[in-house]
């Protein structure tokens, strides 16, 4: 016999399962990035980004956006432009080579506790008849120069609808939308959106030694990205 009570319980369990399955799961900084709290790095050497997008200029432009936010999180950030220049003087021009150097070299040369690797996954506009979107997606990783372990990693993505709004979809409106999208593409500054992508990944980074919340932010929640990263 199924009692009324049992049905209510079953309903409750089912709805819980549905809710868990749909929305994002949350983790905390402390459980997601315990090695940041164990190793307590003080400095980050920001390397030029690895450009995996179709836009050749993305590398130079994105490079100008990383120094400030990571410093504002409380870390000593080495001057990005100067570091890139020095590496060239040492004969390393290729980012690919830079990303494959043994990590202790960065400790030896710069005295850096960690290295920040960034990959520009997407930096482009896709034109569609119905809608045109601009997508910027950045994958960032902080790796220890002493243990070579990844201490932190997160991906920030921004998708911008360039035409804007949804309407009846008549032919005249579609043409208008394509024109609007073309104008918006010409005037849109990708870098503004890159700053937003940075904000979407950096909030998950544990604060560094120059920030008031250093070692006090373990319970701050963030969206779990583990399945995407693996």
């Amino acid at each position: 016999m199924i009692s009324k009570k049992n049905i209510t319980l079953l309903g409750f369990i089912l709805s819980t399962l549905i809710f868990t399955g749909c929305g994002p799961t949350y983790v905390t900084k402390g459980t997601e990035f315990p090695k940041m709290y164990e190793q307590q790095p003080r400095s980050i050497l920001i390397l030029p980004p690895m450009n995996e997008s179709t836009d050749a200029e993305a590398k130079d432009y994105y490079m100008t956006t990383t120094e400030m936010p990571f410093a504002l999180m409380g870390y000593y950030t080495f001057p990005t432009e100067m570091v890139a220049d020095i590496m060239k003087q040492e004969g390393v021009y290729d980012t690919e080579v830079l990303y494959n150097l043994p990590l202790d070299k960065y400790y030896e040369y710069f005295g850096a506790d960690t290295v920040l690797f960034t990959r520009i996954k997407k930096w482009d506009v896709s034109y569609m008849v119905i809608e045109s979107t601009l997508t910027i997606s950045i994958e960032a990783k902080i790796v220890s120069t002493k243990t070579s372990e990844e201490l932190w990693g997160y991906t920030g993505t921004v998708i911008v609808d360039l035409a804007g709004g949804t309407g009846s979809g008549g032919l005249g409106e579609l043409i208008a939308k394509v024109i609007v999208a073309a104008i918006n593409t010409a005037t849109t500054d990708y870098v503004d959106h890159a700053h937003t992508a940075n904000k979407r990944l950096i909030y998950t980074l544990p604060f560094g030694p120059y920030h008031e919340l250093y070692m006090k932010d373990q319970t701050i929640k963030l969206v779990d990205q583990t399945p995407i990263n693996n």
């Binding site: 432009y61 410093a71 000593y76 120059y210």
Partner: protein, 128 residues
């Protein structure tokens, strides 16, 4: 009739807190000024003007550093400035800036010492 008075006092206090909470934004940890925008501009349009604009934004950020939560010059700013001096051939001012970076941020000491030594070797001032 004490209760209404209390409520009035409470609401005055609450309103006060609300106004303070909305109006005053916390200062950023460092004062970067226009550094990020000038850096981007210098990459977008490589020219003598954009390079000068970048140098000015770095100088502004250093001069107005106390207008921030940390009261300190932001990481890398003195190093950036020193590197600009170095590229323009002013090694004395470059070394001075690298020393300043090091004194504010000991994390940079290893790198700054390496830069200073490089300059000294290039100028034949080293003893070893």
């Amino acid at each position: 009739m004490r209760a209404p008075k209390k409520i009035t006092l409470f609401s005055v206090l609450a309103t006060g807190f609300l106004i303070t909470g909305c109006g005053s934004q916390p200062k950023p940890l460092y004062n970067y000024g226009d550094y990020s925008a000038s850096y981007y501009h210098s990459k977008k349009e490589l020219s003598a003007e954009s390079a000068l604009e970048l140098q000015k934004s770095i100088e502004y950020s250093i001069e107005n550093a106390t207008n921030s939560r940390s009261n300190r010059v932001a990481p890398g700013m003195y190093a950036n400035l020193g590197y600009i001096y170095l590229k323009s051939g002013n090694s004395a001012k470059a070394i001075e800036s690298f020393h300043k970076e090091k004194s504010i941020y000991p994390e940079s000491a290893h790198f700054m010492d390496r830069m200073i030594k490089k300059i000294e070797v290039a100028e034949g001032k080293t003893n070893d």
